[in-house]
């Protein structure tokens, strides 16, 4: 089978959330001699871009995105050792978490999955994360972007504290925020560099911030 055909099949399997088929097609792609960077960029990443587009158009909903992301993770796990061997670098590292006092994390998890699917390395700090922890992790891992999530109007004010803590510690890492009560205006108010209303837009926004 030709390279284009295998990768197209890989994208389709990803869209259908067929984990086993994605793993099989990664193996076949490798066996066919397709470069690992091409499998990643033209197979998994393009597939997840399609998932994101369908999600934004309300053709895909959370269940479809989750099964696609699960298939993508399985495929990525197969591909990872070969990416390391071939020195294929991630597009950047995003430190992500739900802010202090807030335990809601499904939105944040969706963003993390979509970012991984777009070729970023993601360090997920979980939920109820302090400003200090965001600063420490961003510094230790030389993060390209810090992503903050909040569901509650009372916890979203913590986002401003994280931005402030990052700047006070001398880090200029761009910050992107999201979550039900969050708006573009609020992002501007707390001087966050990015805002996304949904997981697919978050990927676009992170790409804009890291210029890839």
């Amino acid at each position: 089978m030709r390279t284009g055909a295998i990768l197209k099949e890989l994208q389709e399997a990803l869209l259908d959330g067929k984990k086993d088929e994605v793993e099989y097609l990664i193996e076949r792609s490798l066996a066919s001699g397709i470069p690992t960077s091409e499998i990643l960029n033209q197979g998994l990443i393009v597939g997840m871009e399609k998932v994101g587009t369908l999600f934004k158009k309300n053709k895909f909903f959370i269940p479809e995105v989750l099964v696609a992301a699960r298939a993508m993770n399985a495929g990525l796990a197969k591909l990872e050792p070969f990416l390391v061997k071939d020195k294929v670098e991630p597009k950047g590292l995003v430190v992500i978490g739900t802010v202090k006092g807030d335990l809601h994390d499904i939105g944040k998890n969706l963003v993390a999955m979509m970012l991984r699917g777009a070729g970023f390395k993601v360090l997920d700090l979980g939920n109820d994360v302090s400003a200090e922890k965001f600063v420490e992790s961003a510094r230790a891992h030389n993060a390209s972007v810090v992503g903050l999530s909040a569901l509650l109007t009372t916890t979203m004010i913590q986002m401003g504290n994280v931005v402030e803590a990052l700047r006070d510690s001398g880090l200029s890492t761009p910050v992107i925020i999201g979550g039900a009560p969050v708006t573009q205006e609020y992002a501007e108010e707390i001087k966050a560099e990015g805002y996304a209303p949904d997981a697919a837009s978050a990927v676009e926004e992170v790409r804009r911030l890291v210029k890839v």
């Binding site: 895909f60 909903f61 269940p63 006092g101 335990l103 809601h104 499904i106 109007t153």
Partner: protein, 336 residues
């Protein structure tokens, strides 16, 4: 005209003397603003109340649902909470493996409601009384499986998923049947179906799996001559025609996640909008002018000789003066 008559006329689109009202109160508001809560309740008393539960055998729960720490609900689902005054989040699924599906225990204590006491409660008030039922199949499934797992279940649809869903549904029907045999005016169920911008699941999946359950609840209520009310958060425009088709009487939703004028054009006069006024921006941050304009917009878009209940939630982050202004504005607009 009594509160009960006002609500009935609203539900029947037959020109109530004024728009009936109800403030939803979260524990957070009572703790932070007890005096303001009392003032609003005194000045703008609710026309709708929820019956007390009057359990003969209290459901088995652990902890306080609205306090920091651990809360275990009557099904055994474990919630973690960091904030006082709101509900926590499930972090570990009750049902991790499908092989344990038969171990899920229904909270039979919820069926021990003392109907005589409920009836006495209803007779002692002229307010419209809603049953204290806790019927929420989609949410309870999320609590049992954890949301991420449940969303995958909805795609994979293993046989055990339907066994679990059926067990929950049969229990809920028993619970609603019980309340339907009391003198309450309406039954109630709730599930949050919307995110900020869209449904959480596709309309087709919702129609296949959940719409038939809701049909049973709505039919059961009407068979017993009861109204039936529902709550769902989020943008749920796509399933509103289905809920109307099923005969739902009143819906509490986040109107401000949707196009309110479009809601009015498409669905005005077909279902009663049981609030609300936006609790994400307007109640915590909105100006007086914005609050007044929002109430006017809801009334102008949705009121059609009834079909509107003045409701908002005094919950986490809301400014008490804004909640007060919501009800004051509704009162001023109530000269119908």
């Amino acid at each position: 005209m009594t509160s009960r008559e006002l609500v009935e006329r609203t539900l029947e689109f037959s020109r109530p003397q004024r728009i009936p009202r109800q403030m939803w109160l979260l524990a957070w508001a009572t703790e932070h603003y007890p005096e303001k809560v009392t003032e609003i309740q005194r000045k703008f008393p609710d026309d709708i109340v929820t019956s007390l539960s009057f359990y003969k055998i209290p459901p088995r729960t652990f902890g306080d649902e609205n306090s920091p720490g651990i809360f275990i609900d009557e099904w055994g689902c474990v919630f973690e909470n960091r904030q006082r005054g709101i509900m926590g989040e499930v972090k570990e699924p009750l049902l991790r493996e499908w092989k344990d599906v038969d171990k899920v225990r229904v909270p039979a204590e919820r069926l021990s409601v003392d109907k005589d006491k409920v009836n006495d409660f209803c007779r002692r008030t002229d307010k419209f009384v809603i049953a204290r039922s806790c019927v929420r199949p989609f949410e309870q499934l999320q609590f049992m499986r954890k949301p991420e797992n449940l969303f995958v279940d909805l795609i994979e649809q293993p046989a055990e998923f339907f066994i679990l869903l059926d067990r929950i549904h049969q229990f809920y029907k028993q619970e609603l049947e019980l309340w339907a045999r009391t003198e309450v005016d309406a039954l109630f169920f709730n599930d949050d179906w919307g995110s900020q911008n869209s449904l959480l699941v596709s309309p087709s999946l919702w129609r296949k799996i959940f719409k038939p359950l809701y049909k049973d609840y709505i039919d059961l209520a009407h068979l017993h001559g009861k109204y039936i009310f529902m709550h769902s958060d989020g943008q749920i425009m796509d399933i509103l025609p289905d809920l109307i088709e099923l005969g739902l009487d009143a819906l509490n939703s986040q109107l401000f996640c949707m196009d309110i004028e479009e809601l009015g054009k498409r669905f005005g006069g077909k279902i009663t909008f049981w609030g609300e006024i936006d609790r994400q921006y307007l109640l915590p941050y909105g100006s007086s002018e914005e609050i007044i304009a929002s109430v006017r917009k809801v009334k102008d878009s949705l009121y059609q000789d009834g079909g509107v209940i003045a409701q908002c939630e005094f919950g986490i982050g809301a400014k008490p003066e804004n909640v007060y202004l919501v009800f004051e504005t509704w009162n001023n607009f109530s000269n119908l």
